[in-house]
């Protein structure tokens, strides 16, 4: 393949990616709905002891099948948290320059916590995806739970915001 052609293809792909990203960025400007996260169920799914128990009780193939299902459900919760963080980031960023200092301060708090939450949720998604692809390998609790552990400071903001805005349940 011609080397110049490779660069042309790279340029076209990059342009396509930028256009898609730009369109996605504009289209998510009006995000408002937060997902209602059932943290009790989420914690059960992410529980390391439960995974250990299943690993010892089930045969290899069966364990992998069930583990994949559990990870898929966990992924839905983490995706819901990532979405909520994004909504709060959009709201907070909009209000950072508000003329009312109380609103601006509250917005700063929300932006700080939501940005941490979003990053950790995305890292957790990557780790979960890896675990879904290789369900047989042992995932240390810190692998999935540690990022979640860091989410705790923002979880309350999400929970309270949930009570103030329209909610959508995670399936």
């Amino acid at each position: 393949m011609n080397a110049g052609l490779i660069l042309v293809v790279c340029a076209i792909l990059a342009l396509g990616f930028l256009s898609w990203m730009a369109w996605k960025t504009r289209s998510r400007r009006n995000l408002r709905d937060l997902y209602d996260i059932d943290l009790q169920a989420f914690e059960n799914l992410a529980c390391a002891d439960e995974e250990k128990f299943l690993r010892t009780r089930l045969r290899g193939g069966e364990f992998r099948r069930i583990q994949r299902e559990r990870l898929r459900a966990t992924m839905e919760y983490v995706s819901g948290i990532a979405h909520n963080a994004e909504v709060l980031l959009q709201m907070g960023s909009s209000a950072l320059r508000d003329s009312d200092p109380a609103v601006a301060n509250a917005a700063k708090h929300v932006v700080d916590e939501a940005s941490k939450l979003r990053l950790n949720a995305q890292v957790a998604r990557v780790k979960l995806l890896t675990a879904m692809l290789w369900p047989g390998i042992r995932i240390e609790p810190s692998g999935v739970l540690e990022p979640y552990r860091k989410l705790k400071s923002i979880a309350a903001v999400l929970e309270v915001a949930n009570s103030h805005l329209g909610t959508v349940h995670v399936a």
Partner: protein, 254 residues
């Protein structure tokens, strides 16, 4: 100096007239202070255009001398575009202080990796290095395009990954610059592969037309008012926050 038709002159002059309008708009809306590199770039492009026009009219200059001046101008323009990309990066992460260190690390590593990738790509694809014009077309221009485009791809990807919201002008600058860098990369790659004279008229029109579109994008986003979502501080109640945190901590640490 050759004479060109109406559309060539239009595509040469119109974007710079719009850039002059953009300079005024940036000053009027006090955006020049917030985006100094972008403002410097628009002023510089206007200055370069006036200089180019004067030289074009001046009969005592040869094509080679004109090209030398053009290349120096293009070098400065490329450096300013790097400063703009950094400025957009800084602006995007400015509202998110928690992640500003992450943003700096991301920028540095991306830039370093892109420099490495562009050196490898260009060393692999370059055959003709006879004079400084071909060095510019084959090496510098393509390196600049690869690095700038790569940084913008990383920037858009990171903002999507982290769920950041863009301010109007930052978004417009990144979009316009990305479009221009992508087209410039494709054109320089074709020229480097098949010779600088390949479809010269078509590529000149194409590049100039793309730049015109970029300037219109910048102008639109500098002019468009910012849209804000409504936000209530009542949504954040400290006591609920603490209670919820404790409940969560108990469950996580059991």
């Amino acid at each position: 100096m050759s004479n060109y038709g109406f559309w060539y002159n239009y595509l040469w002059i119109a974007p710079h007239v719009l850039l002059a309008g953009l300079c005024i708009l940036l000053l009027q809306r006090k955006l020049a202070r917030e985006y100094p590199a972008f403002f410097a770039y628009t002023v510089y492009e206007c200055f370069q255009f006036i200089l180019g026009l004067a030289l074009y009219r001046y009969k005592g200059i040869t094509d080679d001398q004109y090209m030398e001046i053009y290349l120096i101008g293009a070098c400065i323009s490329s450096l300013l575009r790097f400063a703009i990309v950094y400025e957009v990066f800084r602006h995007l992460f400015h509202d998110y202080p928690v992640l500003s260190t992450f943003g700096k690390i991301l920028y540095r590593w991306s830039a370093a990796l892109l420099v490495l990738a562009s050196v490898i790509l260009i060393a692999w694809t370059t055959q003709d290095l006879q004079n400084h014009v071909s060095i510019w077309v084959n090496v510098v221009d393509r390196m600049v395009c690869i690095i700038q485009l790569g940084l913008l791809v990383v920037l858009f990807g990171a903002s999507r990954f982290l769920g950041f919201s863009w301010r109007n002008l930052s978004f417009g600058i990144a979009l316009g610059l990305g479009l221009f860098a992508a087209v410039e990369l494709a054109v320089t790659a074709v020229r480097a592969a098949y010779g600088p004279a390949t479809m010269i008229v078509f590529f000149n029109y194409f590049t100039m037309g793309t730049y015109h579109v970029c300037v219109m994008i910048w102008l639109f986003y500098a002019w468009a008012p910012e849209r804000y979502m409504t936000f209530s501080p009542l949504a954040v109640r400290e006591n609920t926050l603490e209670g919820w945190n404790l409940a969560l901590k108990r469950v996580i640490e059991r």
